[in-house]
Structure formats: structure tokens, C-alpha cells
């Protein structure tokens, strides 16, 4: 099990919890919104995430390889395995790509 994973023994990962005192949105809508944002990053690596069963996510590559991930911490290690690249939020090419979304 990935040591970064917060899903040990069914624990909800901190990013999946609503911020305390958050205005109520449905969990489904929050997960959908999260998936849309993650995909804006994953597109740079040729990957795509879809919501699965309200509890997990499916990460897919363009060649059809898929893997199930439970949360965001688990996502990045699996994304690196699928695309064969480092997923680094400080990487210059990623930042340039994110900063010019109308490409």
C-alpha cells in the first residue's frame, strides 16, 4: 500500500473531506468538480480520470491502460507509472502549459 495514501483502513483522505463549515454541495457534485480540475492537469500527461462508484476513481492512459485509485495522494504515483514521467507541480513545462490554457 502506498505510504502516502490516506485511505488506510477506510479513512477518508483529507482532500475528500468537505472543508469544515463548507456550504453544502452533494458529495457527487464535489467529486465531479474535482475530477474536472484534475483532468486539466492530467491532460498534460496524456491521462484521464473518471469517477467510479462514488468511492474510487479510474485513471486511464491513451493506450487503454487503467488503474483504480482511491484518492489524490494515491493518484500521482499511479499517474507516473502509467505515463512514465514525473508528475511534478514545479515542472517548468507543466506550469507553462497550465498558464496558457487557450493553447
Amino acid at each position: 500500500m502506498c505510504s502516502l495514501c490516506g485511505m488506510l483502513e477506510g479513512q477518508l483522505h483529507w482532500t475528500e473531506s468537505k472543508p469544515p463549515a463548507a456550504q453544502v454541495h452533494s458529495q457527487w457534485r464535489e467529486r465531479q468538480a474535482r475530477v474536472r480540475l484534475v483532468n486539466a492537469v492530467l491532460q498534460h500527461y496524456g491521462l484521464k480520470l473518471t469517477e467510479w462508484s462514488g468511492k474510487s476513481y479510474v485513471l486511464s492512459s491513451r493506450t487503454g491502460r487503467t488503474v483504480i485509485v482511491d484518492n489524490l495522494s494515491e493518484l500521482w504515483g499511479q499517474a507516473e507509472r502509467l505515463c512514465g514521467r514525473r508528475c511534478d507541480p514545479l515542472d517548468e513545462r507543466l506550469l507553462v502549459w497550465l498558464e496558457h490554457p487557450s493553447r
Binding site: 482532500t15 480540475l37 511534478d88 497550465l98
Partner: protein, 349 residues
């Protein structure tokens, strides 16, 4: 999620060899507020702790698969913590409401934090409170420059306590205090001689304690004021020996919770070993009160919140202590990720 308010808080007391950890603990434990405290020590030193709940643990570390040293379960500690729970439940020992773990002088406190936050049984009974680090005023500067362990202990601390200040000259004490403030501005820094009747707050105040939460956040914000108030000081906030620096970032607009989560998990996945501390007071879009984030390397505590904003300032404020990473890199990256919510981004996904 586990209800943090009912868990037994655990303080980690660390500090380099001979820096006065046990002496400080002896003084703190005289407080009536800390009458029901159990103590775990890594090694029994020469100074005896006259405490009815004292246990000794030997060190052994179980490295997990990814090999990151901070993500290690301390096997000895795991067993000791479980034993304490079991004995408390059976009534074999006096009831305790708080636990203090005193580390050995060369210990890295982060695997201890990892054990508390990640071990499946332990995290349902204990929670990490604050990390206290003692620094010897006489030898501390040299130790910080020579030993990576000493720098790490200071960089991850919530409390920095200067000890033996009566043995060092005033200029050296001031220079060391300034160095520590730059290294870790969000930690409360004080001399052990200042630990008085309110000393119990050093252990008790944290962001999960209802009474201590406002005081703790005020300390975080003081660190942010330090950063914004004196750029010259901030520019010097760099330990060249071990390449550790601290800085604070401010964001005017409310942050999207998902975008922040995506960014921070990606950052900690790739650079968690070098992000020694993150403390943040966030204005999250759609949330009326500030959200508190507290992270140590790869570990992020469950988010907490204040009941109200501490003042008129509604900006998000983040304090970082990092190693081999730069402020411009992190600021630019977080800004790019927070802009993910803009329609042109979401439209491309």
C-alpha cells in the same frame, strides 16, 4: 473521519543531544494541568523523571515501500502506544489524558508523527498535538550548522525552546534566536527561563484544542507578519548549511478547495521530503470561516477551522519551511493550480 476532539493528544519533545529535553519536561510536568500525562522516552538519561507513567522504548524503524524516511512506522513506538492503550483500558495504569514522547537526541521526529497519523489502530486513539524542540544556547548554533538532525528538529517544530541561556552570552543568544526565527518563523520561540506557570500551554495549545486554537493561529499569523513586514529578514531566511528556508505566501482571492488539494497532494508526492512544514490559514471559496492546514513533510493533519476570522484580513496565508525548494517556484505553481477553476481550463478537460 475520526473525531479529533476525543483522541488523546500526543506531544513530541525533541532536541539535540544534551539540549535539556528532560529538564524542560520535569518543569512542565509540575503543572496541575498536566497531572494526567503519560511519558514515553527513547532513552533513560541521567536526569530522572519522577513520573508515575514513564515508559522506555528502544528504537526500531520499519521503512515502508516507498523508502522515504519520513514515511516510516516506528515499530517500537507502535507497540508502546498500543500497550499504553491496552493498560489504560484494563485499568493497569493510572488514567492519562495526554502523552509526551521524548525522543533521543539524534531522532527524526517525523517518523513518530507518521506513526501517530497513519498507523491504523493508533490513529483512532491518539492525535498529534505539537512538536517541541529544545535548542542549547551554548552549542545550538554549531549543532544546527553541523548536524542535519538538529536542523530538521528545529525546522519541523511548533515550539522552539532555548535552553541554557544563562551559560551563553547575550549576543550569542540573540543571534541564535534570530537564526531560529528565520529557519522556522511559525514556531513559538522562547527561552526555557520564560517557561512559567503558563508553561502547560506549550503542550496544550494546538489547532484541535478549542481553547488553545485562537492562540495557536495567532502564532501562525505572527509568522506571516514577520514575513511580510521585513523582506530583508525574509531574504535571509535561509540555512545555507542544510539548504533550508522559510517563507510565507498570501493570496487575495478565495482558494478553491479541490484545486488546493490537487496541488498540495502533487507537491507532497514529488517533494514531500523537502516540504518540512506547511501551516496555512485558508480562505476557501464557499466557506465562511478560515480553514487551517497543518502539514509535516508528506503528512497533512485533517483540516480544522476557526469559528470566526481573527480580524478583518480575509486573505489566505501560508507559511512554508522547505529544503532545496524556492519561494518563486512554489508561489508560481500554486497560482497556476488555483487558476484551474477558470472556465478556459475546465473547458479543456
Amino acid at each position: 473521519m475520526v473525531d479529533y476532539t476525543v483522541l488523546t493528544p500526543v506531544n513530541i519533545l525533541t532536541g539535540f543531544l544534551g539540549s535539556g529535553k528532560t529538564t524542560l519536561l520535569q518543569r512542565l510536568l509540575t503543572s496541575p494541568q498536566l497531572a494526567e500525562v503519560a511519558v514515553l522516552v527513547n532513552e533513560l538519561g541521567e536526569i530522572g523523571l519522577d513520573h508515575h507513567l514513564l515508559q522506555n522504548v528502544a528504537e526500531s524503524t520499519l521503512l515502508l515501500e516507498n523508502g522515504c524516511v519520513c514515511c516510516a512506522i516506528r515499530g517500537d513506538l507502535q507497540q508502546a502506544l498500543r500497550d499504553l492503550l491496552s493498560k489504560r483500558m484494563r485499568g493497569d495504569i493510572a488514567h492519562f489524558r495526554r502523552l509526551v514522547i521524548e525522543t533521543s537526541g539524534l531522532a527524526d521526529p517525523v517518523p513518530i508523527a507518521y506513526t501517530l497519523l497513519r498507523e491504523p489502530v493508533i490513529r483512532h486513539h491518539y492525535r498529534l498535538s505539537t512538536i517541541l524542540t529544545t535548542v542549547d544556547a551554548l552549542n545550538g548554533r554549531g549543532q544546527l550548522e553541523t548536524f542535519a538532525e538538529a536542523s530538521k528538529q528545529a525546522a519541523v517544530a511548533d515550539r522552539l525552546i532555548l535552553t541554557k541561556t544563562d551559560l551563553a552570552d547575550a549576543d550569542s543568544v540573540h543571534a541564535l534566536a534570530a537564526h531560529l526565527r528565520r529557519l522556522n518563523p511559525s514556531a513559538l520561540l522562547l527561552e526555557s527561563a520564560q517557561v512559567d506557570a503558563d508553561g502547560d500551554r506549550l503542550l496544550i495549545d494546538d489547532i484541535y484544542d478549542a481553547g488553545g486554537r485562537p492562540r495557536e493561529v495567532a502564532r501562525w499569523l505572527a509568522a506571516d507578519d514577520l514575513g511580510r513586514g521585513d523582506r530583508a529578514v525574509q531574504a535571509l531566511a535561509h540555512d545555507h548549511t542544510h539548504d533550508i528556508q522559510s517563507f510565507s505566501l498570501t493570496f487575495e482571492q478565495p482558494l478553491d478547495w479541490s484545486a488546493f488539494g490537487i496541488w498540495s497532494t502533487m507537491l507532497l508526492h514529488r517533494h514531500g521530503g523537502d516540504v518540512l512544514r506547511i501551516k496555512a490559514l485558508l480562505n476557501v471559496a464557499g466557506v465562511s470561516t478560515p480553514v487551517l492546514i497543518n502539514g509535516v513533510q508528506h503528512l497533512v493533519h485533517p483540516p480544522s477551522h476557526l469559528d470566526a476570522w481573527p480580524g478583518a484580513d480575509r486573505r489566505s496565508r501560508l507559511v512554508f519551511v522547505v529544503r532545496r525548494l524556492s519561494r518563486p517556484q512554489i508561489e508560481r505553481s500554486l497560482a497556476a493550480f488555483t487558476a484551474l477553476v477558470n472556465p478556459q481550463h475546465v473547458g479543456t478537460a
